[in-house]
Symmetry: C2
Subunit: 149 residues, 2 copies
Amino acid sequence: MKRLLERIDREILATGGKRSRSRAVVIDRFFRARDHVTIEELTRSVRESAPGIGAVTVYRTLKLLERLGYAKELDFGEGARRYESNLSPHHDHLVCRQCGTVIEFEDREIEQLQDLVTRRHGFHPTAHRLEIYGFCRKCASGTSPERSR
Amino acid sequence: MKRLLERIDREILATGGKRSRSRAVVIDRFFRARDHVTIEELTRSVRESAPGIGAVTVYRTLKLLERLGYAKELDFGEGARRYESNLSPHHDHLVCRQCGTVIEFEDREIEQLQDLVTRRHGFHPTAHRLEIYGFCRKCASGTSPERSR
DNA sequence: CTGATTATGAAATTCATTTTCATCATATCC
DNA sequence: GGATATGATGAAAATGAATTTCATAATCAG
């Protein structure tokens, strides 16, 4: 973890940036956070250890991490973006419409078929997003719904 | 086409709504439009035949069509939503990052694998979205980029 | 037709995100 | 170590899509 932060700092320096205390806090909190955080959630978390930090800095830092390839923007259609770290390997998402739970999955076969389709259209793919929306086991089984977003 | 509009009008009446001239224009233009229109594009089109119609009405009408199952919201991460009609069968999208071209495709195999994954997680799916981003044949081949959005 | 209710458009509002700008912090050069 | 240039920060303002409000107009039911 410390290693990672140092590496990112070095990359920032190498691209003409400067280090900063606030940003270090944001990055640290981001990598420790549960997956798929919103800016708002992350800002709250950041302020636990550094109350003065503004949401703008969180926005900017996540844009930065995205540019460097450490974060990925997600949009589950909730009105606000979410971010996840790019440290874990590629995966897609199952999103429960009732309780908001997000399950990650990875399927080599689907990926391969996607490549095929893409090539068939002369397309050169750079990224894709696959989200399946529905109801998770708990919510589908008529059990009382959990937390709702 | 006329049939379709009449059918929609009947459904609106049946659910406690009223017919309206403005809405008829919006709906007509929507079904005639190229796929994947933004509200702004559609509003422009609508105003060709009825200059007085406000964007708000276009927003409202598309929400209505979505509720009735005739339209589908899309989000290619451009900042503004797009809508497509639900008349053609289900399909997914290849989106060119350079020129904005959207190619539609349909792949039974991918759909089946998605079902499998979903079931494996005890999930009850209601919808999914698969978008592959990249560069279309023209843009990938280094040819001069086309219109860019 | 009359009354009741929905639809409309303009303007105001909301809300996430971005930009601006004066100030602060960090790196660099001496 | 200090001066200086430049990047980073936070507060407030700006932006922009989408939604809500509200007074007025259109449409439906009896």
